[in-house]
């Protein structure tokens, strides 16, 4: 199984993501600079968190227009797996690969604290190592994580079971996301975008390993 992390200028959680992937996959992912658009032979493409292009204009807007996104789209069209975390999620929505948009947090402040996430379905490559309905903890760090989509889109997402993760008690919804949505899937279940950072909670020494099953799920799926 081969994984790559796309690095846009201003991305800053690529190292965290690489550590989490290496831990579960047993080998380091490839780091792909955004101007190199060769994604051939990869199983998984990850767009990590950070502030691509400084979050100027709109988070993810400029990265979404980058040439490498054509290659990411092609990878997804081939049935490849794509994971977008935080800024990565914003980039996927800006690129139209996932529906909806991420608005300013309802509280208008950057939110950096742990949140709790409920696993809405456990039959995906990303969530297989969680139980359905299980609640796990993950750090958040974003100013624009307020998920929005129009009612028709939301109904379709829910109807097709494409909501992967929702904010859950005790910490609840940190940013005003509609219907507590924290992460959504593409119709073929191979593209996941989510705001929180499971990659920053994969080591008990750093406060827990709640995020690790997500990467273990991917490793198991891709090895199969």
């Amino acid at each position: 199984m081969r994984a790559a992390i796309i690095v846009f200028p201003g991305i800053n959680r690529e190292r965290d993501m690489a550590i989490a992937l290496a831990q579960s996959f047993g080998r380091a992912p490839r780091m792909v600079w955004h101007r190199d658009s060769d994604l051939d032979g990869l199983d998984l493409v990850v767009i990590p968190g950070g502030f691509s292009y400084g979050d100027y204009l709109r988070c993810g807007a400029m990265a979404a227009q980058s040439p490498v996104m054509q290659a990411v789209r092609a990878h997804a069209a081939r049935g490849g797996y794509v994971l977008g975390v935080c800024n990565g999620f914003q980039i996927l929505t800006e690129a139209g690969m996932l529906p909806g948009a991420l608005l300013r947090n309802a509280g208008l402040r950057f939110v950096s604290r742990d949140c709790h996430l409920r696993v809405e379905r456990a039959d995906t490559a990303f969530t297989a190592h969680y139980q359905r309905g299980a609640v796990f903890r993950a750090p958040t760090a974003h100013g624009d994580g307020n998920y929005f989509a129009d009612a028709a889109t939301l109904d379709r997402l829910e109807g097709e079971g494409l909501v992967a993760l929702r904010y859950a008690p005790p910490t609840g919804n940190p940013n005003g996301s509609v219907r507590d949505i924290a992460g959504i899937l593409s119709p073929n279940l191979r593209v996941l975008g989510l705001m929180p950072h499971p990659e920053d909670l994969v080591d008990p020494l750093l406060g827990g390993a709640d995020g690790r099953p997500l990467f273990d799920s991917l490793a198991a799926t891709l090895a199969a």
Partner: protein
């Protein structure tokens, strides 16, 4: 400005007094040009020349076997083992943060980051030490909101976790808040980059953002007190661009992995002037600058403006000529400006050319050697107001609930929730989890412990004892997580040095720091002095902020403050019930009086070494030092952090309960351990005072008298203030 005649009056406007101007005339042997006058004025400003403080700073101990570079470089460098070095420094952005809180704080973070990565270190942590005015002052809210957003806005975007800091409120900061930012980075110990230029003929290269008319005379502004006309100084505000800084970090580190760089220096205060003068001066060479080659954002900039611009996110480097193309390719990849703007010469002079004219030509040696150095008069500080016996008007329960909710002790979660503390994936102890932040080094077991400390009210009452206390508290906080304290950086924030009583405070504070550093083997490796912190004649509380750094060989050994049930609580260190200058005295008895708690440096060291050894032996489940608010506040903080209750036993009969529980005696720790008896025996053997104060368990804090405060009640009292005051 261009048309101005250079004379003594203009020199005064630029911040040079008549004597200093005369000295500049003598060095030049002719009337200086405008650009030359600008260069003299910024190089001889308090900010760049340390002319009032330098004679005192020499007292600080700066050496230890583990110190690689002490003061004199962009940041201090210490050996932390595994072939690695920690590079760190703290710097103030007080005046800019008052004028424009968001941008002032943001550019403060940007500036200190550059001081660290310019030495070849990848920044791995930021801290911030903040002092604000009284919460009831109409301006304080806006300042707090802007400063916190600015620190988060910059640090979060560059992807360096903000892991710690401190906040105080006092009316003395109403018109002059303090924003001290600290950055810590990691480099291979044999790959440290310095700023001394070398190699006649080598190219001088400018990288980063373009130059605009930002913050011209910012360095002189930081060296002047605020008056009614501070509004008029507003156009000097600079806007930070953390995105460009992030690119600059990556590009510089990429270049530093090659052998292209001979010398490198960030452009901080007084931008191109101080960077070029310092690089050439330290290397004992001359430098020729061709300003036509400087990347410019605005049209028609003069030499004076370019030399004094404080545009952010820029660096100056001397490169090996045969590696210029390698360097250019890296900066082009990161879409940053890259321009050869000059070369090193053998003239010993700085020569600045612009549009076919020589705009400046100054000999470097006298510019440095003849910089003003003042032995300003000092007046001994007045003795602190004495304090007699104080009766307890409130009782333990009411006092505790008030204290843990007061601005100086309430939860800082509202602040740190806006700072990304986890980016990098190495944060072992986040804000609020331990007395010092703990950040592991990627790919190693090793971790750094980091803290900032100072109690300005102690320093106001007794600058020497207060400054010693600041050093001791930093050392104690590092010890309390199990770290071996290595060194400090400092940020000496004081009022107007031309006033003898302020200079007296300064001299006493340096003496106190020096004594504590010496006794604790805790040298000063970098720092910053910020003077003229006064508004309309009213000075801030003297604030010698200390940033401490320690090391843990194994991150897994770090302990935090969170209590769990089923443990014995033991107090280490002696308690005399010192209430002078305590928060209890101010918040409950309504007095700011008495002397601050004395620091017994020998006892401090004994207790700390004992505690650290127990932690490293794995015998301690949680540890918290006793500081602001005293023992009961420390225990309440441990209970809240762990969401575990405890039952406290009565204190010694010879002390009034409020003095025992709220006194701020120094050198103390609360340890939560499985085996209290073993700990007491070990302490007795080591000659360290220790006493059992209770045990953990239950859903509340049970006071010696029997009353129980539920954790929910405590939590409400602790967490309410900042959100209620600042919204959401």
């Amino acid at each position: 400005m261009t048309g101005r005649v250079v004379d003594a009056a203009l020199a005064r406007e630029f911040g040079l007094n008549a004597e200093e101007y005369g000295r500049a005339l003598a060095i030049m042997g002719r009337l200086p040009t405008l650009a030359e006058l600008g260069i003299f004025s910024v190089m001889w400003s308090e900010h760049c020349s340390y002319k009032s403080s330098r004679v005192w700073l020499r007292q600080l101990p700066t050496a230890a076997p583990w110190v690689i570079h002490g003061p004199g470089e962009n940041a201090g460098v210490v050996d932390i083992g595994d072939g690695l070095a920690a590079v760190f420094k703290m710097e103030s952005h007080n005046h800019p943060s008052f004028i424009e809180p968001y941008q002032g704080a943001a550019t403060g973070v940007g500036g200190i980051l550059r001081d660290v990565f310019t030495m070849g270190a990848r920044p791995i942590a930021n801290l911030n030490a903040l002092r604000f005015g009284d919460p009831s002052h109409p301006r304080t809210r806006r300042v707090v909101d802007g400063v916190v957003r600015g620190i988060g806005g910059y640090g979060n975007c560059v992807g360096v976790p903000t892991v710690g800091g401190e906040v105080n409120f006092h009316p003395a900061f109403d018109g002059n808040p303090l924003v001290n930012a600290m950055t810590v980075g990691i480099a291979p110990r044999d790959r440290i980059f310095l700023s001394a230029a070398a190699g006649i003929g080598n190219p001088v290269v400018y990288v980063g953002s373009k130059t605009g008319r930002d913050g011209i005379h910012g360095a002189t502004m930081a060296s002047a007190a605020f008056g009614e006309d501070s509004e008029a100084k507003r156009p000097t505000v600079q806007v930070g661009d953390p995105f460009t800084e992030k690119l600059l970090i990556e590009a510089c580190l990429e270049l530093m992995a090659t052998d292209a760089i001979v010398a490198i220096q960030d452009m901080g205060a007084a931008g191109l002037t101080s960077s070029s003068v310092e690089m050439a001066g330290k290397g004992g060479v001359g430098i020729l600058l061709d300003l036509d080659a400087v990347p410019q954002r605005e049209h028609g900039m003069t030499a004076y403006e370019m030399m004094l611009s404080e545009s952010q996110e820029r660096m100056l480097m001397v490169l090996r000529p045969d590696r210029q193309d390698v360097a250019r390719a890296i900066f082009e990849k990161w879409e940053l400006d890259f321009a050869v703007i000059g070369r090193l010469t053998d003239t010993g002079r700085i020569v600045v050319r612009h549009q076919g004219r020589i705009e400046a030509d100054i000999p470097l040696a006298p510019l440095a050697d003849q910089a003003p150095l003042y032995h300003r008069p000092t007046a001994p500080p007045p003795p602190p107001p004495s304090l007699g016996a104080v009766a307890d008007p409130a009782g333990l329960e009411a006092a505790l609930l008030r204290l843990i909710g007061c601005p100086d002790l309430c939860s800082r979660a509202w602040i740190w929730d806006q700072y990304d503390a986890t980016v990098g994936g190495q944060t072992v102890k986040r804000p609020g989890a331990a007395d010092a932040a703990v950040v592991r080094i990627e790919g190693h077991r090793r971790a750094l412990a980091l803290t900032t400390d100072c109690t300005p009210r102690y320093c106001a009452a007794d600058a020497e004892a207060g400054a010693a206390q600041a050093v001791a508290e930093a050392w104690r906080n590092l010890t309390a997580v199990g770290a071996r304290p290595l060194a400090i950086t400092d940020n000496l924030n004081f009022g107007n040095p031309e006033r003898p009583e302020i200079m007296g405070q300064f001299a006493s504070a340096v003496a106190g720091m020096a004594a504590a550093c010496r006794a604790l083997d805790f040298p000063v490796v970098s720092g910053n002095v910020s003077l003229y912190n006064e508004t309309e004649g009213r000075s801030i509380l003297p604030t010698p902020a200390v940033g401490g750094l320690g090391v843990l060989d194994d991150a897994a050994q770090a302990v935090g403050i969170a209590l769990r049930p089923g443990l014995d609580l033991v107090l280490i260190g002696a308690t005399a019930g010192h209430l002078g200058q305590s928060l209890w005295l101010r918040e409950i008895a309504g007095q700011e009086a008495g002397s601050p708690p004395p620091v017994d440096l020998a006892a401090e060291r004994r207790a700390g070494d004992f505690v650290r050894a127990r932690i490293l032996a794995g015998a301690v489940a949680a540890c918290h030092d006793v500081s602001d608010g005293g023992l009961l506040v420390a225990v309440a903080e441990m209970a809240l952090a762990g969401d575990a209750g405890c039952r406290l036993e009565a204190g010694p009969p010879n002390l009034p309960p409020h003095a025992f529980w709220f006194g701020e005696d120094q050198g103390r720790y609360v340890l939560a351990v499985a085996d209290g008896a073993a700990l007491l025996a070990a302490a007795a053997a080591a000659g360290v005072p220790a006493q059992r104060i209770g045990a953990s368990g239950g859903g509340g804090l049970t006071l010696p008298g029997g009353a129980t405060i539920s954790l929910a009640t405590l939590r409400r009292a602790h967490e309410r203030f900042l959100p209620d005051w600042l919204g959401d």
